[in-house]
Symmetry: C2
Subunit: 337 residues, 2 copies
């Protein structure tokens, strides 16, 4: 198996990306191909100790920047690390690809170059949503599709459920639909219709989940449109950072507080770790015909390493094929076969 | 001026409601009329010390429960504390009304009995969104309208802006539109169109605000549809409670931590207070033809008292009339006059 890594994507590329690859390589036996400007990547690799038969650099001259318009960037920067990487994935030269680059471009590139899984109308980004002290839920969609139809939400549930099973070994993942009330009659027309589709499906659907319950880990897979998903994700991030900042400020206001904070320093550090999204790997772009993973633009080497480690079961368990089969059997049911 | 209070609405009615009225009465000179079952309310009043010329009980036999279907309840329970209260408000016997009862019923009752302000398509619930250490923003809509048209969002901005000016004395309230990106091109069709309407308006519009920025107090008035608003509000509540619970658990795990927590006990208590929504009063139902305020169903006497105190400027400053004038002048602009 071979992992393709976009060496030039992300705020700390290529340095942290390369270091993440080297750290991951030390823990696995798979080959890693880093795509990007050869000289720059080689210079970073030179600083590290690694097995040269395990890591290879594939040259690509261009770089898709965060400020680039996604569709245009993918169409015009044919020799960019992202596009070259996607073509390697499509051709079968690699089994899974990881990028910390422009999310919109990666989404567009996934659609244009890899194509959609037959039966999937809208690919989605699945992000791990951290639960304090209890792991995480998987949120689909976390921002790719601001507007959705009911069947899109059903597909998000199916894809998320398969990903949780195959990559994280959750036997029968519970699937919840984000809604502003527990009753079936609550919410928008789209959400109400999606509720009925999910209820009739083979998924382990637990009904509507209210945003208030999400931080407690109410279900394994959180289904919502990309507007709501992105709102939930970003609000949680912002609120968590603000709480930490506020606590730090309050706990250092006077000498008594400082002493208390000193006694609690380990716990306070642990609290920060609880809000860290990167420990569960990257965010798969589910629904495209290839195992494609986005890691956060600000990823450091550890986040890149975690992304690579979680990429292995994604490829090994043929998640893409499993999704294709699940959607096909859904169409059989719909057509009454 | 006279304040109407629904004596039977809320989880702790009539006890906490009555005590809240008595506490408020001690701080103001206005009359308070408590509507509900006379015997029960009188029994609660008997336990308190108050000026009997300031507080009067208006009998109403029925009670709208939280489990009642809103529209049906308002139509059939004509002698309920909520419906009788709304009729007193409509007739001018009272200047502002407060209820901790069934939100849907209060919304429906507001629409049926008071009617809409001319020019307002959809009334909305405006809720204070607490900013750690910095007061609050006002969120419109926080749950009344799951689906909105662009002009609804514009109206939310106008109503919220007037409320912040008149009730909280903010001179030129900044208005932000919740969106999953700062660029005008981001978001759903509705949000994009609303952005253009808000931009052209006389409001102090600061553009799109991302959910990540909300906890920092990015703007005075947060505009969004009721699905997103309710999601933001409830997620924040749930997350805050979960963080407090988690901190409490972590800080009492061992003896060192317990000692640290003891030194920080004042700060920790303060942290809890920061998450308390009730100190800024209740949530006005903006857009109905009357000053109507919802306080949380779980309100205690203090929350009821705060609701009553903030109800005074709402009525005194003629917020309802100001909104009507603002919407009328908007229609003049639209028709080119």
């Amino acid at each position: 198996m071979r992992i393709i890594v976009d060496g030039m994507g992300g705020d700390h590329a290529p340095g942290e990306i390369v270091r993440g690859c080297v750290e991951a390589a030390a823990e696995i036996s798979e080959e890693i191909w880093i795509v990007g400007r050869e000289a720059e990547i080689a210079a970073e690799l030179k600083k590290c100790k690694y097995n040269s038969s395990q890591i290879r650099v594939i040259h690509a001259q261009e770089v898709i920047e965060n400020c680039d318009a996604p569709v245009k960037a993918v169409r015009t920067k044919k020799d960019s690390s992202m596009v070259v990487g996607l073509n390697l994935l499509k051709s079968g030269s690699g089994d899974v690809m990881i990028s910390a680059g422009n999310t919109g471009a990666l989404m567009a590139g996934g659609l244009f170059i890899l194509g959609r899984i037959p039966g999937i109308d809208r690919p989605a980004i699945a992000t791990t949503y951290p639960i304090l002290g209890k792991g995480f839920s998987l949120m689909v969609d976390s921002g790719a599709n601001a507007e959705c139809k009911p069947n899109n939400l059903l597909e998000f549930g199916i894809m998320g459920s398969i990903y949780m099973q195959k990559v994280f070994g959750v036997k029968s993942p519970t699937v919840g639909l984000v809604n502003i009330g527990a009753e079936e009659s609550k919410g928008t027309t789209v959400v109400k219709a999606a509720h009925q589709l999910l209820k009739k499906s083979d998924l382990h659907f637990v009904g509507n989940v209210e945003p208030r319950e999400l931080p407690y880990g109410i279900c394994d897979v959180i289904v919502c449109d990309g507007f709501v998903g992105n709102t939930i994700l970003k609000l949680t991030e912002g609120f968590a950072l603000n709480v930490l900042k506020f606590i730090k400020h309050k706990f250092t206001e006077d000498m008594t507080s400082k002493m208390g904070a000193l006694l609690l320093s380990k716990k306070l550090k642990g609290l920060k770790g609880e809000f860290d999204y990167s420990s569960y790997g990257g965010a798969p772009i589910l629904g495209v015909k290839g195992a494609l993973i986005k890691v956060h633009g600000s990823s450091n080497a550890t986040a890149v390493k975690n992304g690579i480690l979680k990429a292995l079961p994604y490829a090994r368990e043929n998640v893409v094929q499993r999704i294709e089969e699940a959607v096909l059997s859904l169409e059989d049911v719909e057509s009454g076969e």
